[in-house]
Symmetry: C2
Amino acid sequence: MFDFPMYLELRHLRTLQAIRATGSLAAAAARLHVTQSALSHQIKALEQRFDTALFFRQSRPLRLSPAGGLLADLAERLLPEVAVVEQRLADMALGRQGRLHIAIECHSCFQWLLPTMDRYREDWPGVEMDLSLGFSFHPLPALVRGEIDLVVTSDPDPDLRGIHYEPLFRHEVLLAMHIGSPLARKAWLAPQDLAAATLITYPVCRSRLDVFARFLEPAGVEPAAVRTSELTVMIIQLVVSRRGVAALPSWALDEYRDQGQLIARPLGRGGLWSPLYAAVREASREAPFIEAFLGLARAVTAERLSGIEPLGA
Amino acid sequence: MFDFPMYLELRHLRTLQAIRATGSLAAAAARLHVTQSALSHQIKALEQRFDTALFFRQSRPLRLSPAGGLLADLAERLLPEVAVVEQRLADMALGRQGRLHIAIECHSCFQWLLPTMDRYREDWPGVEMDLSLGFSFHPLPALVRGEIDLVVTSDPDPDLRGIHYEPLFRHEVLLAMHIGSPLARKAWLAPQDLAAATLITYPVCRSRLDVFARFLEPAGVEPAAVRTSELTVMIIQLVVSRRGVAALPSWALDEYRDQGQLIARPLGRGGLWSPLYAAVREASREAPFIEAFLGLARAVTAERLSGIEPLGA
DNA sequence: ACATGAATATGAAAATAATTCATGTTATTT
DNA sequence: AAATAACATGAATTATTTTCATATTCATGT
């Protein structure tokens, strides 16, 4: 009759489970909202497929055979797991659950990102969070590939389709130097002022450093020396010990500035302002758990960072 | 497009698993022996059903979204379980595995049944065995209902359909008495000889006791007294201490007879012979693991029990 | 045993659902 | 910027599942 196919499917497990629970085909059919005939056919096909009876017919109430019991046991184990996953998927679709793997390209962003994440975790316990540092790899392609879900970046790549850049705020990049530095006497600095200086930067490509990309290189100026350090505290140390100067976000300097050793000056007459974006996939942009994160990030930065100018919605 | 249905099925899990394993729809399709188009449609339907993307399209190799990963994880957990059960079902169909729940109606059958089960277990480790005593319930209907799989009985019920009675052997029922009993002087006993005796029996319905059903009742004789005991050893005790006489299978007496206190005599001139059957469902009759058990039971009884006459195949 | 009611089985038709085919799009590579 | 490989899509096809109508089987009471 049925020539061959007949893979075991969850439908069959639901049927076996219902049959065992109700003790009759008819009742099981009612519970599953199908006709008794449908189940009878289904059972028959299974029995042919496995070449064994699934229940004993000459008795009522129906009793499953050992083979039928095996399948019903399987149903009892698997179906609850399936239900759990379906529920989680539903939650995900509603945006109440999700995954938020964040990568940052901006070394000094910890200052506001960690508090943001802490507060976020309280409201969205169903969201699985992770943070990785996007210094050694390129976070935006990873965002496209779905390896991560949000990238904090200051240089959007407009070529990438399907990525939305949500502006967070603009902040001023200041040149930090020792209070006794000759450059400290100027109200603001011109590119040429750095020609004789040692510039301390994070160890990343110059095109991703605003001092170079938007201040020195346009003017064709190269500092006397460049040295790098991974950590903001270390950079500050070097500046305080008069080993060089460094361009840093104004808020990154706040906690050190009032120690009296450090002074900061704008880069250029109007200052060097840099935007910061949260890049997310278009597909996840409207998920509530993403929107909530962006909103919280804005609130936290506006509250805790000085010298920034909020951007975006 | 698809208006509504779309239950999650194992097919979908197999698809997700293959996609994650291969990193592409096309490769997954090849592995599952369907076209790439089939999987594309399948995925699309799932995405509509769960209202969420299952993988990121703007990247190759394909990467599953969190939702897709959830389903693939589920697949990884469930499919192996399904495979195990399918394998066990195949084994059952071939009769290499099965369930052998045995019930006995015959009190003294332990003597040969336990050794039989012990030896059987060695050869058929895949068969789940159990033994229950069918004294307080009726084992044959339970056999029909599939609660048990084999009943050792001496009175077949021909009304039950679908039950096959496999003859094992005939054995003689002897009357055991104290060696000094006046009855012991006779070469064989007539029903009337018991009219003055105390008869000790197992505590079951008279119709299931051959002494009554086939010896005393046909002759219209009632013993002077009847008392019962559950255990064969206890019955022997009572007989030895001259509290009465008992009708028991000859082999059940073997281990006590040579203690010199006990003597046994045939019931009637030709002796009272009783057959023993193994009742199984027609459906399971030809399963190798059942046939093997029957064969072994015959071998063990022929080897260990005296005074029996093998029956059947 | 026989009738009766309830439950399961069955075949054919109808309804659904899954798959393929042919082709269009989109991504990656050279 | 082609070229190529991979995925998406709509229509047609094929396969499967379900229903409908009805037959058979089982359980029970007389």
